[in-house]
């Protein structure tokens, strides 16, 4: 269980600068624009692209934050009283496992954009420092989730009678 918490903590730490630093640096002829994850989403939303903004927000904010909460819940639920059924906790664990890899979609987007949009001095897109930290954060949370032993969910049942 220590590893779970350790990875979880590292992912959380990494997640902070991922949101503070710019994710994407767009250099055009006229200006250089640095946009953080949330800032970019807000800009998209302001410019009317609600769908894209929602996707970015869900993929980059809601899912990582949800994972943090989910892992923390699972880890705490092992030790504390059992309020929820084992089955549902197991389903939650599987969901975290499944969704974890999709959190890298932001990083993929940044990587693809950086690779594609390199028109010299006209327009170029570089990944910001947040991209690295975001990726680290995702990796840490995935490691944290893998470190979690799902059997512990059921072990608690056996311990109760004992």
């Amino acid at each position: 269980m220590q590893r779970v918490w350790a990875w979880w903590l590292a992912g959380l730490i990494a997640y902070v600068p991922a949101n503070l630093y710019p994710m994407l640096v767009t250099s055009t002829l006229l200006s250089t624009q640095q946009s953080t994850i949330v800032g970019g989403a807000v800009e998209l939303a302001e410019s009317g692209s609600w769908g894209v903004a929602a996707i970015i927000l869900i993929a980059s904010v809601a899912i990582p934050v949800g994972k943090f909460f989910a892992i923390a819940f699972l880890a705490l639920s092992i030790r504390g009283q059992r309020r929820h059924s084992d089955h549902r906790r197991h389903r939650l664990y599987e969901l975290v496992e499944f969704i974890g890899r999709w959190s890298m979609i932001d990083v993929f987007v940044v990587a693809i954009l950086s690779a594609l949009v390199q028109l010299g001095s006209l327009v170029s897109i570089h990944p910001g420092p947040a991209a690295v930290t975001f990726a680290l954060s995702v990796v840490f949370t995935m490691l944290s989730a893998q470190s979690f032993d799902s059997r512990l969910i059921f072990d608690q049942n056996e311990q109760d009678p004992a």
Binding site: Q2, R3, L9, A10, I13, L30
Partner: protein, 902 residues
């Protein structure tokens, strides 16, 4: 940053804490450490924040607008906010740590915006990247400062540049515009800042920054002038175009120069006057015009429209300053009304008054105040009659109203001035100038330009331009012609011509002389003389010897009356009756009219001939004429021959008469009676009765001949003609001479007739007398006929024609001949006179004849020979009459034969 790392809940501390810890915990630990380091690094690397206060921060955006130093970004605007009271904008800029120490109190900040000026485009990059804040500071660290006041414009003198800032002052602001270059000998050494109005509003001032190496050339003796654009000057050296530099041509420029080396260095901020031109600047330098002028105010009343800026201010006749500005002033509290007075600002040059140095203004004020106390006042005077301009004259005025120098009502110390009594001169001159200005100069110029254009076109015309050359060519040709041999030979030819003319004249002269030699005139004169003599003789014979003849005839008649000659008388009376019949015959009576007609025809023909002859100038006509003249001469010769025979005839008549005289009258009477009967028969014959007609026809033919003769006379023009004429005249003279001879022979005939008459006188001839009386009556009747009375008119006409002929002759070049002819005519008349002189002799002979006739009549009975003789004579007379009749008829039929000689 939530660095509160949660303390791991370590439960079950049975084993060692470290043993139970997983090495995985190093990962978040490292993350924390890294984060902390990054955070600390960020914080540590941040520079100080300074606040710059701008009036206007347009384009400044927080987090984006950067602060640049030498075009390198050294800071970012963190925050833009308003200062208290919303009057200014405070821009917070986080500096780079490296430059932070240098940003001290001398730092200057301004916002760089895109700017397009005549000097070029600056700050173009800010169009794209947005504005930025430029900051300058020196390169020495100083006391840090966090609060600055930003500049509105790019500073003229950047604090990082070495140099000197001075102030330029211009009255009108010419040449003072922002960013104008300051030139020193054509090299740009500085810049002029933004011009501003001076505090008093009378001039424009602008800072100018002279860069370091060149700033030392600016001393107290430096003069600045406006060298903007170009300057075109006309002078003794011709036109001069000055262009200092291309940049100054576009943007203007301020040049300066220092001529005098001995000049004091200046401090920053010294005010220099900007002159309009280099000449003004240099002359002001030598005139001692200082930089600091003493300004005074003067208030004038009255018509002061002529006072304008730059008018001179004179003190004692010396120009000590100029009027800087003129404005209106309304001050009710001071003057008591609200009239507008003129407030003139006057600049006096202390150097002109002898004051200098830093205390010049004070000294000047003191001097002026003393001068006012002594009665000096300013007043306006006419500066120029033409323009009506005024000038300010400061001079002592007697009884000047009390006034004092100074005062605080006016912008500058007031110098008391007297009201201006506007002279009418200026007005009238202005009116004159207005009228002159109203003259239609433009139309005049237009027309002049048009005229000049036309003249130009005319002059530019190729034909006109060719004129001089062609004139030269013509002159050259004329010179050639004059110089040619032909023309040079011309005088000689003219001389030859004159010589020929002379020769011709001489020939004409000789021709005339020749004519004279040939004596044509003389011969004509002789002919005329002969004619005259004949006429004279006839006249004398007719007038002087007729009465005795009549007497003898009367005696003869008485003798005849005594004779028993009743038969004779009867025959005679019958003869006389026949004669009367003849005389009363219309033909005879028509003779005068025919004569008249002939004369008229003669006149007409003469005029016609005159016309014809005037046309007969061709050679052939002349030849014909000469031939005709020759024929006429032939005719005349024939006539002369014929007349030559007349004396012979006369002689025979004489002989007959003599025979008659010898006849016995008795038989004679009978014979006479028979003769008279025969005569009667003869006269009763048609031939005799036709005789008058023939005579008239002959006269017409003669008149024709005369016409032709006159025509010939007219056409006589030439040697041959004159020769022919002279020959003709000679023949005529011969004819006349023959006539004269004939007339000379008449006396004999008349004498014999006289005898016959005398013999006949003895015959009883009462009835004969009566018949003669009847004959005379008939004659009188004939004479009394209108035609006979018209004879003088016809004669007059003929004379007029003759006169015309003579005129023609005179004009025909034969004047001399005509004169000669007249002389000849006189000679002829004289001959006639001579002939007439012989008429008495004729009369005597007639008397003798009558005597003999008386004897004959007396012996008429015994001798009948006379009778037969008379009969023969009468027969011969009859034959002659017939011959004449046939001649006249032939002439009548063919008048040309007279002229042609056929």
């Amino acid at each position: 940053m939530t660095d509160q790392i949660p303390e791991p809940q370590m439960t079950g501390a049975k084993p060692g804490l470290l043993d139970r810890l997983s090495p995985v915990w190093l990962v978040p630990l490292a993350a924390v450490v890294i984060s902390l380091f990054v955070a600390w690094h960020n914080y540590a690397s941040r520079g100080p924040v300074i606040e710059i206060e701008f009036e206007n921060a347009s384009g400044v955006i927080a987090k984006e607008t950067v602060l640049r130093y030498r075009d390198v970004s050294v800071g970012v605007v963190e925050k833009v906010q308003f200062a208290a009271g919303l009057e200014n904008v405070i821009v917070s800029v986080r500096l780079e740590p490296e430059v932070a120490p240098y940003v001290d109190a001398e730092s200057q900040f301004w916002v760089v915006r895109p700017q397009v000026t005549s000097r070029g485009v600056s700050g173009l990059e800010t169009v794209i990247s947005g504005v930025y804040i430029e900051g300058v500071w020196d390169s020495t660290p100083g006391q840090a400062q966090t609060r600055f006041i930003g500049l509105e414009q790019t500073p003229t003198a950047r604090s990082d540049q070495e140099g000197m800032t001075i102030v330029l002052r211009s009255r009108g602001g010419e040449g003072l515009s922002e960013d104008t270059p300051v030139l020193y000998r054509g090299i740009e050494v500085g810049r002029v800042g933004r011009p501003e109005l001076s505090d008093d509003g009378q001039s424009v001032i602008a800072e100018a920054f002279i860069r370091a190496p060149y700033a030392r050339h600016v001393t107290s003796a430096t003069r600045f002038w406006n060298s903007s654009g170009f300057r075109l000057t006309f002078g003794p050296g011709g036109a001069q175009l000055d262009v200092s530099s291309l940049a100054s041509l576009v943007a203007g420029g301020v040049s300066f120069d220092t001529v005098i080396n001995e000049a004091a260095p200046i401090e920053a901020g010294t005010v220099f006057e900007l002159f309009g031109s280099e000449q003004d600047a240099r002359s002001s330098l030598f005139a001692g015009t200082g930089t600091d002028q003493v300004r005074l105010s003067m208030i004038f009343e009255g018509e002061t429209g002529g006072l304008q800026a730059n008018a001179n201010v004179e003190l004692g006749g010396v120009v000590v300053g100029q009027v800087a500005a003129v404005s209106g002033l309304v001050d009710a509290t001071r003057f008591g009304d609200r009239r507008v007075r003129m407030l003139a600002t006057v600049e006096l040059d202390p150097a002109k008054l002898g004051f200098g140095g830093p205390e010049a203004e004070t000294e000047t004020h003191e001097f002026l105040s003393g001068a006012v106390a002594r009665g000096l006042r300013a007043r306006l005077e006419q500066a120029s009659i033409l323009t009506g301009g005024l000038k300010v004259v400061i001079e002592p005025v007697e009884d000047a109203p009390d006034a004092a120098f100074g005062g605080s009502d006016t912008p500058f110390p007031e110098f008391p001035a007297l009201p201006y009594e506007g002279s009418g001169t200026g007005q009238s001159v202005e009116g004159l100038i207005d009228r002159v200005a109203a003259l239609p100069f433009e139309e005049l110029l237009d027309q002049t330009i048009g005229v000049l254009g036309n003249a130009n076109r005319i002059l530019a015309d190729e034909n006109i331009q060719r004129i001089p050359k062609e004139t030269a060519d013509i002159l050259a040709s004329a010179r050639e012609v004059v110089a040619s041999d032909e023309v040079q030979a011309l005088p000689g030819q003219v001389g030859n011509l004159l010589t020929s003319l002379e020769t011709a004249a001489a020939q004409v002269e000789s021709l005339i002389a020749d004519l004279a030699e040939r004596d044509a005139a003389a011969r004509l004169a002789e002919a005329l003389d002969a004619a005259a003599r004949a006429a004279d003789g006839i006249a004398l014979a007719a007038t002087e010897d007729l009465p005795p003849l009549v007497t003898d005839l009367r005696a003869l008649a008485s003798q005849v009356k005594d004779l028993p000659l009743s038969d004779v008388v009867g025959n005679a009376s019958g003869l006389l009756a026949d004669a009367r019949t003849i005389l009363s015959d219309p033909a005879i009576q028509g003779v005068p009219s025919q004569l008249e007609t002939a004369f008229a025809e003669l006149g007409a023909t003469i005029s016609d001939a005159r016309r014809a002859v005037t046309t007969l100038t061709e050679g052939g006509a002349l030849e014909d004429l000469s031939a005709t003249l020759a024929s006429a001469r032939q005719v005349a010769d024939d006539l002369a021959t014929a007349t030559d025979q007349v004396p012979g005839l006369m002689g025979r008549i004489d002989g007959v008469a003599a025979d008659v005289q010898a006849l016995p009258l008795d038989r004679i009477a009978a014979n006479v009676t028979a003769v008279l009967e025969n005569l009667n028969g003869i006269t009763a014959s048609e031939a005799a009765q036709a005789l008058p007609e023939s005579a008239s026809a002959a006269l017409g033919a003669v008149s024709d001949a005369l016409e032709r003769t006159s025509a010939l006379l007219e056409s006589i023009d030439g040697e041959q003609l004159s020769a022919d004429l002279s020959l003709t005249l000679t023949d005529a003279r011969r004819a006349a001479a023959s006539v004269a001879e004939a007339t000379e022979a008449l006396p004999g005939l008349s004498r014999r007739l006289d005898n016959i008459a005398a013999r006949a006188e003895q015959v009883p001839l009462d009835s004969l007398a009566a018949e003669a009386e009847g004959l005379l009556a008939d004659l009188r009747e004939v004479v009394g006929t209108g035609d006979a009375q018209a004879l003088p008119g016809a004669l007059n006409g003929a004379l007029a024609q003759i006169e015309a002929v003579l005129g023609d002759l005179r004009t025909g070049g034969v004047v001399e001949n005509t004169n000669a002819t007249l002389a000849a005519t006189r000679n002829a008349a004289e001959s006639i006179a001579a002939a007439a002189e012989s008429l008495p002799t004729l009369a005597q002979r007639l008397q003798v004849l009558s005597d003999q006739a008386r004897v004959t009549l007396a012996s008429l009975d015994s001798e009948s020979r006379l009778y037969s003789e008379i009969r023969a004579m009468l027969g011969a007379v009859e034959n002659a009459a017939r011959s004449v009749n046939s001649l006249s008829r032939s002439i009548e039929r063919n008048p040309n034969s007279l002229l042609l000689g056929r």
